[in-house]
Every structure is written in C-alpha cells, then in structure tokens.
C-alpha cells in the first residue's frame, strides 16, 4: 500500500493562494468610487461581456478574474437578493449581509475544493436618503480566499491594483461631481493598464448606482454617455 505524501496545511493554503493570485493578476482592473450623487464603477473592458452588474435596488457587483466564475457568483447573488427581498421586504436586502454571504461561499470553496475561485469582487451599496440608518454608502472587497474588507471612498480590484490604488489615494476627494469621478477612474485604470495614452470610452464599462433614482438605482451608461462625462 502506498502512503500519500504529507503536505502541511500551511503549504496547501499557500499553494492555493498563489494559484488564485496568478489567475487574477492576468486580468484587467476595476475601480469603484463614491461621488456626490452615488457610486461609480468603472472597468477596463472592451468586450460586450459585463464585469459589472446589478444585484438589487441599491446593490451592484463587480468581478475580476475568471469570467465564468465571477459571473456565476453574480447570478447566485441575484438569486439570494431576490429571494430575500421577496420573503422579507426590499429594504431588508443590505450590502453587508450580501458581502458576508459572498465571502462565505468564496471562503468555503477556498478551503474545501482543490481549485480555489480565481476571482476578486466588489459589492457596492449606495445610500438611501429616505431612512436615517440607510444613508451611508458602502464598498466591500472580497478576495479569492473569502477575505472581506470595507473601503470608505474608493476601492480597486484586479491585475495591477497597486498602481490603480496609488492614483486613487493621491487624487480622490470626497463629494466629487460625477464627471470628475469618471475622469479619476479612467486615470487610475490607465495607470494600471501601463499604457502611454489614456483609455478611451470604447474600452471602458461604466455603471452607476444613482442615489437620486427611486427603486432600482443601478444604471449602465452607454459609450456616448461615458464620452460625455469624460469630456465635460
């Protein structure tokens, strides 16, 4: 009878983390930032496959890494949110609960399965002015191992996240108008893309959670709308 080789748990986890990080490092970046009227999410994405999506009235999702994996996770999130909102009330679907549920699923796959999920996601929740305890925006970032963190102001995920974050750290101001937020987002993503010229509207996917809307606050912007924001 052959004995399996002993591998320490530390080594298993380190190997999985290394594997997941490699998968994510290949991808492009996404930024999410709060602006005066809500939250703006911008991805470097020239394809028609969306990396940013709507989850619920005030919740949006963004993912980097393996498309099939994070898109599946987004759908699971939509099922979770719609069922919860149907069973309770629409106001009971909150960002923190959603982010925790994502983190649990991702963390569980990381521990139990041989192959971890090669992804990193952002869950964004825009504030609602109608209720005193719903006014704040929230941004949660969840990593491939389920590690969850919240980020006041802005948040970035993806391949060259350090470069992207350093631009945001230097230039981000609270209460920016939408146009400024879009320009900052493009500047940050362009830094991550290591290009000499800035990214153009065609290669950006931009969605906003617009505080001023009633009901579903998620809105996908067309290339023309993005162009308009960047030129204004």
């Amino acid at each position: 009878m052959s004995m399996p080789f002993y591998v320490s748990p530390e080594q298993v986890m380190a190997d999985k983390a290394e594997f997941a990080r490699k998968g994510i490092a290949r991808g492009k970046s996404i930024v999410a930032l709060e602006y005066q009227g809500g939250i703006l999410m911008m991805a470097e994405n020239a394809t028609s496959l969306s990396k940013v999506g709507e989850i619920y009235d005030r919740l949006a999702f963004a993912g980097v890494g393996k498309f099939s994996e994070f898109d599946q996770l987004r759908k699971v999130g939509v099922r979770f949110a719609d069922t919860k909102g149907y069973a309770y009330s629409r106001e009971d679907v909150r960002g923190k609960g959603m982010a925790n549920a994502f983190s649990q699923v991702i963390g569980e796959v990381f521990t139990r399965e041989i192959k971890p999920l090669e992804l990193e996601i952002i869950v964004a929740e825009v504030g609602d002015d109608r209720y005193e305890d719903h006014k704040e925006n929230s941004l949660y970032r969840i990593k491939y191992d389920g590690f969850i963190s919240d980020h006041p102001g802005f948040c970035a995920i993806g391949g060259n996240v350090e470069e992207v974050e350093s631009v945001l750290q230097n230039d981000y101001r609270e209460g920016m108008p939408a146009g400024d937020a879009a320009k900052l987002g493009r500047k940050a993503l362009s830094a991550g893309a290591e290009r000499s010229s800035e990214l153009d509207a065609d290669s950006l996917e931009v969605c906003i959670l617009d505080r001023a809307r009633t009901g579903r606050k998620f809105c996908r912007l067309s290339t023309d709308e993005v162009q308009g924001m960047l030129e204004a």
Binding site: S50, V76, R79, F80, D82, T83, A101, V105
Partner: protein, 263 residues
C-alpha cells in the same frame, strides 16, 4: 436563502419551485368553502387605445356578502412597460402579481436583457396553470395582463382563464364580478383612437356602470375620497390618472345623471 441552491436557470418562479418550496404554499388542500372566506377582488378592465393601453380597477374587496376592504389595490406595475390587474381570490392574486414583478426583474438581471411582452404574458400563464389545483377549490386567479410592446411599438393586452389559457384581445376586456357590465359599457364608449382624456373617461364610465349593476364593485367613492386605480402605459412608461382627473370625470357623470341622462 439560495446561496447553495441547485436551481441554475433565470426564472424566479422556478427558483421558488425548486429551491424555496416553503415560499410557495400549496393552497389546493383547502376546503371548497374556503373560497367564501377569503377576500375577493371584483372588477378590473383593460383596453388598447391611441398610444398604448389603459388598465383600471375598482378598490373594493369582498368576502362573501361583506366588505373586506374599501381601498385594496388590484392593478400592479409589473415592470416599466407592463401592468397586471387581478380579479379573484385577493391573497393568491396579489402574491402572483408580486412574484411576476420579481420574475421580470430577475430575468433581466440574470440574462442582461428584458423579456418580450409576449414572453411576460406567457410566463404569467404558466403561473396561473400552476395555481389550477387551488383554483378548483375556489381560489381562482383570473388576471388581465397588458403593456406597451417596445419592439412592435403598440399596446397589447391578454386575458386568461384558470387553466392558464392565454387569449390576446385586440380591443378591450374586463373580468371579475362586474366585468360583464364594464364590457357592455366599453362596447359603447371605447374606440381605438381615443386620446388619454377620452380613455380615462371611458374607464371611469365603465367602472361606474359596473358598480351600478354589481353590488361587489366599488366604483368611485367621493365621500371617502377613494378612487379607482387607472394606469396608462405608453412608450414613455407608466402614467397614472390622478385622483383629480378621475373625480372630474365622475362629477360629469353625476351631473349628467342629475340632468336626467341615463348614465
């Protein structure tokens, strides 16, 4: 909650059927007399006109011979371009409207695009068919579904039977206990080329006629300021008739009656 659910498709109704059975209770085990005990919605109507569709419903719900509610809502926006109006057992009806509206939003979020108007009507008919065992026990759901078809650029409406049979109507229809009288009124007052004001007038007149002949239909209640719900759906989305608009039309009817008209 379905974070570990087995359902992988894009329908919310099927998701409930597969993974969240407890949220879809089976009402078919009720005794037949149960139908008498629960509130019933009465008259709703819908018709096509000039630039879209109009859907209207009175506000009364009855249980047997008693008033269950004077201001129940029986007309629901299921998404920005569609409306569902219900008559029958109020509980299952209102729940079905809720599920349909989540269904349409759910599909859009999962698939990234909206269902066709016909697809929405078809989904509703499957939901009605699933309710057939309960309908046989007196808990029938008999809705009207209408909306603006953004691709064909016209208003469309469907009526249903309890088996999920789906029938597209080219002109108008009304269901519920006062439906017959509302249809009779629309036969005279309706025309395809009505404008918004004319459409609202035809709807209020039909509901008033139904309330006149059918004791379970509410009509306009000026004393309590309870007005029918009238939703107008066009390419621009929904636009409800205001209480003032409805009251003005109704006062006109009352004046004509006082002057000896036979309205």
């Amino acid at each position: 909650m379905p974070f570990r659910g087995s359902y992988q498709g894009s329908s919310f109704f099927e998701l409930l059927q597969v993974d969240e059975r407890h949220l879809l209770p089976d009402l078919s085990a009720w005794a037949k007399s149960a139908g008498e005990m629960v509130p019933h919605g009465t008259t709703v109507l819908a018709f096509r006109f000039g630039d879209g569709v109009l859907v209207a419903g009175d506000r009364l719900a009855t249980a047997g011979h008693s008033v269950a509610s004077r201001d129940v809502v029986k007309v629901f926006e299921t998404d920005p371009h569609s409306v569902m109006a219900i008559s029958g057992a109020a509980g299952p009806c209102i729940e079905m409207a809720r599920i349909l509206s989540v269904e349409l939003e759910h599909y859009e979020k999962i698939e990234g695009e909206q269902l066709e108007l016909e697809g929405k009507a078809n989904k509703l008919s499957q939901m009605i068919r699933a309710n057939l065992p309960a309908a046989m026990q007196g808990l029938a759901v008999v809705p009207l579904f209408a909306g603006y078809d953004t691709r064909r650029k016209l208003g469309r409406l469907w009526k249903f039977d309890i088996t999920g049979g789906r029938y597209e109507e080219a002109e108008f229809d009304a269901t519920g206990s006062g439906g017959l009288y509302a249809r009779e009124s629309l036969k005279h007052g309706w025309a395809l080329d009505l404008d918004r004001t004319g459409a609202i007038k035809a709807a209020v007149t039909a509901l008033t006629a139904a309330a006149d002949e059918d004791r379970a239909t509410g009509g306009v209640d000026l004393e309590r300021s309870i007005y029918p719900i009238i939703k107008v759906c066009t390419s621009a989305g929904h636009n409800d008739a205001s209480d003032d608009e409805i009251a003005a039309v109704y006062r006109g009817i009352l004046e004509a009656r006082a002057a000896g008209g036979n309205l």
